[in-house]
């Protein structure tokens, strides 16, 4: 666990590279700063890449740009950590540059079935009504985006953390074409070692569904954290410790 490893982090929808600040601080404290480098990536239009005309960027273009960012930073043998929607991008990054990555770590990541958009993975039923669908805990047609994110993602955050997410929600929009993509492939995965971090209290995808995604993403290892969807904010030290252990394998 003591060796220096480079990490790159990719946020999910409604988030930016800022998502990982607490986690990177925890890595720093746990290792006395000797963990290598940490690069918090931004999907075009998010984080420190606001105001770009990104509507036409599909997931392949997003993946290519992020690989360019990692190369520009000079990272090698990278542990690539993704959260939530990043599950749609990590497989494309590893398809384009398998040599660049030491391990992929999917934190409560979504992996839509081929033919589905990311939001269609929820299905159209209420949570619990149809065992073949994740289902919605509240009706997305009658609530605001904030209410939806609160019910799905910000379930165990402090009021201050929730407000931070809420304030930044609309300034971090993923490219529309990436959100609408349906052409997912997972057959190429498995050659880069992969870990899935299951968030046990996640209200967006229950643990059982996260395990379905982990299988789809060909993750050889599962690590569980007793937290909601935003474990990097609510349990940064538990996640940092898990990352250090996974990175050292």
């Amino acid at each position: 666990m003591g060796q220096a490893v480079d990490y790159a982090f990719l946020h999910g929808a409604g988030e930016g590279g800022w998502l990982w600040d607490d986690l990177i601080a925890a890595l720093d404290l746990q290792t006395g700063g000797a963990f290598g480098r940490a690069l918090a990536l931004d999907v075009p239009g998010c984080g420190e890449k606001p105001g770009r005309d990104v509507e036409d960027l599909g997931p392949d273009e997003v993946a290519a740009e992020l690989i360019g960012d990692i190369e520009a930073a000079g990272l090698k043998d990278v542990v690539l950590v993704g959260h939530s929607m990043a599950g749609t991008i990590l497989p494309r990054m590893v398809a384009q540059r398998p040599d660049l990555f030491r391990r992929l770590v999917y934190v409560a990541c979504a992996a839509p079935a081929p033919g589905q958009t990311a939001s269609e993975i929820f299905g159209s039923s209420r949570r619990g009504d149809n065992p073949d669908e994740i289902g919605w805990p509240i009706d997305p047609r009658t609530c605001s985006v904030e209410e939806l994110f609160q019910a799905l993602f910000w379930t165990d955050t402090t009021p201050e953390q929730t407000e931070m997410f809420r304030r930044r929600l609309h300034a971090n929009r993923w490219p529309a074409r990436t959100q609408a993509a349906r052409d997912w492939t997972y057959d190429h995965l498995g050659s880069t070692p992969s870990t899935y971090v299951v968030c046990l209290q996640d209200m967006s995808a229950p643990a059982r569904w996260q395990e379905v995604f982990a299988e789809r993403l060909k993750c050889g290892r599962l690590v569980r954290i007793d937290a909601g969807h935003q474990a990097m904010v609510t349990r940064p030290h538990a996640l940092a410790e898990a990352l250090r252990i996974e990175a050292a394998l």
Binding site: L29, Q30, R224, I225, D226, R235, P236, H237, A238, E241
Partner: protein, 248 residues
Amino acid sequence: MSGHDYAFLHGGGQGGWVWDETIEALGLQTGGAFGRALRLDVPGCGTKRGRATEAIGVDDIAAELIADIEAAGLRDVVLVGHSQAGSILPKMAGARPDLFRRLVYVSCSSPLPGQTAIQMIGAGVHGENPDEVGWPVDPKTHSMEERYLVMFCNDMSRLQTAAFMAKLGHDAWPMQSYSHTDWSYDHLGAVPASFVVCLRDGILPVAWQETFAERFRCERLVRVDAGHQVMNTRPHALAEILRHEAAI
């Protein structure tokens, strides 16, 4: 989240030393500003090895540990116990409820009233008898060392396992701890309590941990993806949990 005093009580066959990694993690996470951490030792264990403990009963252990906490000057203490410490924490909280801010039971066990610790575990394997915790492997065909490997080291690397096994064999609880039957839990609930469930525990199955959590009147359950020795294998996850529970 910081500033609280912690007292830590080890389990059977171990000593205060078992908390070193977790206390170091608490220090790193808080920049050293977490208050004080006192590693308690049951007579015969850790810094109290070599004591004549034949005459020491379970109530004597609890009284001595309270005196240790008072002598150290700790107040509003978060009392953290592991494994067999579950048989002592209720007695400590019963004797001095004013001393404790919160009890945290880390994969702790304790017998039913009228039962010994030996009877609680039983002689079979996990699941064989629904009223006994059981052993992970058959005690009739596996040596104690083989059982320790499965009970304590199932989520440790080879290096961690060797280092941990080398620390065992030097700490022994007073024999009366294993014949005592006068347990009571009705008084619990006055001091807030949390139970840390170790999801990959090799000795106490998760369902049994939840049974014990209920016995200890724990109103909060926190789960951690680790074996029985979470304080050694996931010290940062445990330290973070303790900071959260202490701040409630």
